[in-house]
Subunit: 428 residues, 2 copies
């Protein structure tokens, strides 16, 4: 039934409809909205005036805060913290993607990955040194940076270790954001890296950029100049306001599309060199041991990826009938060109609607309508990017990379829907 083309003159199946009840969103207008609502005799439900009409509201605030406690049947979103108890200060906090909508991550919920806690940097004495293979070394303080031309762009930022629990042989159970939320999306404003590098007149020996930070973990990374995207910047603002401490105040690298560690926080120096520094973060961390025994290093650009955020594990679908499926897709390559959804574990796929405008190297929100018949189902999403890359199935990713890999997991994810409306993470 659900595969039936409403246009009887054509046998072609609408690309936005598929098995398991995946519909194009216009079906909502035909049958979904009134079904979700309560028929009300006009005025009867609202015969009594609400308590809030009899009491004065709360006060104005200099800096607003999110609501506290539960929000009806929903939770107030928080970052979930996973610290390594053996190394104080080493850990992550996850963006609760399963509780969010749209594409912007509020600054208070942007994911964190710190190797020794949040560095506390005095902005008055902060300086950035650019030196090495340059015609002239330059130092910039905050006032001098604020005189320079700036750019703004919305960009996602993803830790190279995001989703790494999915390399495990058994499917870990947790809300979607606490498995895949080492990724966030914000509007960043700062000075283009090319503006700063042009000013120091790099010599012919300058092939790599070695960046270090003011944090006590000694995070230092090596970046090849010839591959750095032209939109790389020194970010000073996030979603309009000054960078927060946990996002690298007073200045961080922002390299749209590249894995998180290259977007160095609390930036201290940029040294132009003829070779990579081969620091711990170039060699031991953020590198993948492949099945042929070789190690993949310097794999900067993040893959094409997507997940369904609603419904997702931890949610309960309130009953059969029409529901919206919604999620996020992104790619280090630039623009997401397509997201397909399956409600039958991958047997059939339908195109989701992409929220416009689709921005390069930013979160893309996708949505579709789903007529759930109340039987067990398996939901999947699969993204394609402007370079034609398609998210692999888990088995294909493992066949390609082996089972000793720790980073850069981007396979198709699957949520199993039970007859009682609960969801769980499955390999399917």
């Amino acid at each position: 039934m659900t595969m039936k083309n409403p246009d009887k003159k054509s046998l072609q199946v609408d690309a936005s409809e598929a098995g398991g009840g995946l519909y194009s969103r216009r079906r909502f207008v035909q049958r979904g909205v009134a079904g979700a609502a309560t028929l009300a005799a006009a005025g009867s439900v609202f015969a009594e005036s609400p308590d809030s009409w009899r009491q004065q509201g709360d006060a104005f605030s200099n800096y607003g805060q999110p609501l506290e406690g539960t929000l009806g049947s929903r939770q107030q979103p928080i970052r979930w913290i996973t610290s390594n108890s053996a190394v104080t200060g080493d850990g992550v906090s996850w963006t609760p993607l399963h509780d969010l909508a749209g594409t912007i991550t509020p600054n208070g919920l942007h994911f964190e990955r710190h190797h020794n806690g949040v560095a506390v940097v005095d902005p008055g004495s902060w300086e950035l040194l650019i030196n090495g293979a340059v015609g002239r070394s330059l130092a910039f303080n905050l006032d001098s940076l604020h005189r320079l031309p700036m750019v703004s762009r919305i960009a996602f930022l993803e830790c190279g270790g995001n989703s790494n629990s999915l390399w495990h042989p058994n499917a870990v159970q947790a809300p979607a954001g606490f498995l895949h939320g080492l990724v966030s999306c914000a509007e960043w404003t700062g000075v283009r890296l090319s503006t700063l590098l042009d000013a120091v007149s790099p010599t012919d020996d300058a092939k790599w950029l070695v960046a270090d930070g003011y944090d006590s973990a000694g995070v230092t990374v090596s970046l090849p100049l010839s591959e750095l995207p032209e939109d790389a910047m020194l970010a000073l603002y996030q979603n309009g306001e000054t960078l927060r401490a946990e996002n690298g105040y007073p200045a961080r690298l922002l390299i749209p599309g590249w894995e998180g560690v290259t977007n160095l926080k609390w930036l201290r120096s940029l040294t132009l060199t003829d070779r990579p520094a081969m620091t711990r973060y170039d060699t031991v961390s953020y590198t993948d041991l492949l099945k042929d025994g070789t190690v993949e290093r310097f794999s900067f650009e993040m893959g094409v990826k997507s997940l369904i955020t609603s419904p997702s594990p931890g949610h309960t679908i309130p009953g059969s009938g029409l529901h919206e499926i919604s999620g996020l897709a992104w790619t280090g390559a630039g623009v997401i060109t397509r997201v397909e959804l399956s409600a039958d574990g991958g047997k059939s796929w339908a195109d989701a609607e992409l929220q416009q405008p689709v921005l390069s190297k930013a979160f893309t929100r996708f949505r579709a309508a789903w007529q759930w018949d109340g039987n067990p189902a398996i939901l999947k999403s699969r993204a394609t990017d402007e370079r034609g890359r398609v998210q692999p199935e888990r088995q294909a990713l493992i066949e390609e990379k082996g089972t000793n890999v720790y980073y850069h997991y981007n396979a198709v994810l699957a949520w199993a829907v039970a007859a009682n409306g609960s969801l769980s993470h499955v390999y399917a």
Copy 2:
């Protein structure tokens, strides 16, 4: 000198350069960046390791907060509260546009306009009634709304009373955001109003939509159905997270481009009627007494507007030389097509660069380079929108509207730069 065209073969003046030192931004690369920096003998400034290398960083947090106190020579942005002391709960808080960059306003800094404080609404018992001239009255609770198709969009929101101190005969002195910051811009997610209205089957008598809220101020507004933009929505999320209390939790109207009061917070009911309700908010407030003695009511769409946020009053320009001028433009009509800048009080104008992508009914960030010679100067910005509307000069606006108007001020603003680098608000 500054008018000189770098292309000697042509006499045509580059539209992005003008008198008073307004340059196109590429001049920065030629002469500005190194001038702003400090020449450093490689390593010498950085010979000592910073304190932050010797101490562990701060802890992870479930919900991050902005930095406290001063940030070097900058202030931590806060909303400035202007309450009416005669009527508790009646007042505003201003977005500190002069301290922000980019186009997104963080939720904690979105402006507020409350008539009796921030309504406290229990989400579990919250319902929205849609009734009146309809085929069937419907009530929606939060769970039923979350089943419906949603949309996301970035949109500015501006109070009809923003900038109203500029109707005063003398130029009021305050930071830019505390004169013009009853406007903010966020990504909103919710259900299209048309989706909800289609479901109740409006009758032929349905010409107006009367919206009331759960707040105790009795704010009720009348909106003409035939003029409501198709992108009007019932917003549930702001910048990714659940609406905050001061922005109308659990649901508000969001009518992109229309004046703030029509974007009713803490929404309670939508009643379809054959005529406007002519409430206090339709008649006494948000209406303008024109010079011919007539009253302009129901002027929903906001005008074309812009302001320079940096530098602006309260800032001090650190010295002559190259600086970036940056600001915001927006229009209720849709897209900003042009922003011109003047550094000589309006004698000559140059095109500013518009940050791409320019989104409809959203903030547009503009920027230009300015070579300040250290002499007094007057900075102005002037925006044009897709309908060809151009911001009027103050005198022209007064000639058109008279001097009894209180709302909807959108004239060109002027900042005077003194020789010591301080700025002030002037009528010029």
